[in-house]
């Protein structure tokens, strides 16, 4: 377990970045004006990071708004990441145009202005509380990961992916090494993208899914073996 007292000085600068508020306003502006795959991905990722930070701070308020923002970006992001292979390029473009228009409406909502304002008022949290909560998350990841390892059920793996994402974002925020969790998150993400692609595109995916499962097992191995004690 991390020694909060010894880590405090080193982690101070990372915590001083607070909840990266200017970042959200910028990401919103970029997504509104550009609508590029990169800007949508950046906005969605930042919303997930802020959500993880609020959760780590033990705050419920504003998390639902960030989740709504993340979900608003999700359809477009899924289309960009895994365009259905059964559709012609023009059809994919037409779908993207429709999704961009829908997202533009969502991004002009009244709540987003209030969300940016609300995030600006969230105070800095006690480091010891953050580290304690992070350790709990990691213990749960190991328990859930070992169960998922045995069962390989889609629901268990998806829940594990969400947990890996939260831990990864939390560790990155606190300036801790997040390599193992980033690898597990990415591998589970690739597997999930293939699942999404399989739902919209009925072409055979067994081989790709098999490869993705091997990748997540390889990625999660070190975390599960060390019992999340890093």
């Amino acid at each position: 377990m991390l020694d909060a007292a010894h880590k405090a000085a080193a982690l101070g600068p990372a915590l001083d970045e607070g909840l990266a508020l200017a970042g959200l306003a910028d990401a919103l502006r970029r997504a509104r004006t550009e609508s590029s795959p990169e800007s949508i991905h950046a906005l969605r990722t930042l919303a997930a990071k802020l959500e993880a930070r609020l959760r780590l701070c033990g705050r419920r308020a504003l998390r639902d708004d960030l989740r709504a923002l993340r979900r608003a970006c999700a359809h477009l992001r899924d289309l960009d990441a895994c365009p259905p292979r059964s559709l012609a390029e023009e059809e994919v473009r037409a779908r993207r145009t429709a999704q961009v228009a829908r997202l533009a409406r969502d991004l002009s909502s009244h709540e987003l202005e209030a969300l940016c304002a609300g995030l600006a008022f969230v105070p800095r949290a006690e480091l010891s509380n953050l580290l304690e909560r992070l350790a709990t998350w990691q213990r749960k990841f190991v328990v859930q990961g070992r169960a998922a390892w045995r069962e390989e059920a889609s629901i268990a793996l998806h829940a594990l992916r969400r947990r890996a994402r939260r831990i990864r974002h939390a560790r990155e925020w606190l300036g801790l090494d997040a390599t193992d969790f980033a690898r597990a998150h990415s591998a589970l993400g690739r597997w999930h993208d293939l699942q999404v692609s399989g739902e919209t595109d009925k072409s055979p995916l067994e081989e790709s899914l098999r490869v993705a499962k091997l990748a997540w097992r390889a990625a999660a191995k070190s975390v599960l073996e060390e019992g999340g004690s890093k």
């Binding site: 308020a61 504003l62 639902d64 209030a114 600006a120 008022f121 105070p123």
Partner: protein
């Protein structure tokens, strides 16, 4: 619709380096509001949606009230100022809670119960910190009726 108007719990005073918007709840405010929340639970309060002002003391009150909410917690800038029709247009569900500030909440209650004329009247309601008003009806000016005006002390007694 059941509309619960909840004033934020007791917060620390503004001070140098602590502007009004970032005043957190005090320990006493948290304890008292936890007790008031039990009172609300005794009254059968459940919310489909909980909207709150972005100011920190309202965020923290919304956090404390979250166990009574079955739906999303939604930040709403309209609760940090005088209520308007746009705010009413955003209300969704059969039972909604609004966490905000005075005098906006009591003026909103008067507006919804008595209509536009009430906003010019000198008469008003007084709602203590951590208190709640329950209105019922269509969320339009003059179309709701007052069910409860619950001062914080009353809620805490109910919660004992």
């Amino acid at each position: 619709m059941k509309l619960w108007l909840v004033r934020h719990a007791i917060a620390l005073e503004a001070a140098e380096g602590r502007p009004d918007a970032v005043r957190p709840l005090s320990e006493r405010g948290r304890e008292r509001f936890a007790s008031a929340r039990r009172g609300l639970r005794e009254l059968g309060a459940r919310f489909d949606e909980l909207r709150f002002s972005p100011l920190l003391r309202a965020q923290e009150t919304a956090d404390l009230l979250a166990p009574l909410c079955d739906g999303p917690l939604v930040v709403d800038g309209g609760l940090a100022r005088e209520a308007d029709e746009a705010l009413l247009g955003r209300l969704r569900g059969q039972s909604v809670a609004l966490v905000g500030h005075e005098p906006h909440l009591s003026r909103l209650a008067l507006w919804l119960v008595c209509g536009w004329e009430a906003l010019d009247a000198r008469a008003g309601l007084r709602l203590g910190k951590g208190g709640a008003i329950l209105l019922q009806g269509e969320p339009r000016p003059g179309a709701m009726h007052l069910v409860h005006l619950l001062q914080p002390r009353t809620l805490r007694r109910l919660g004992r």
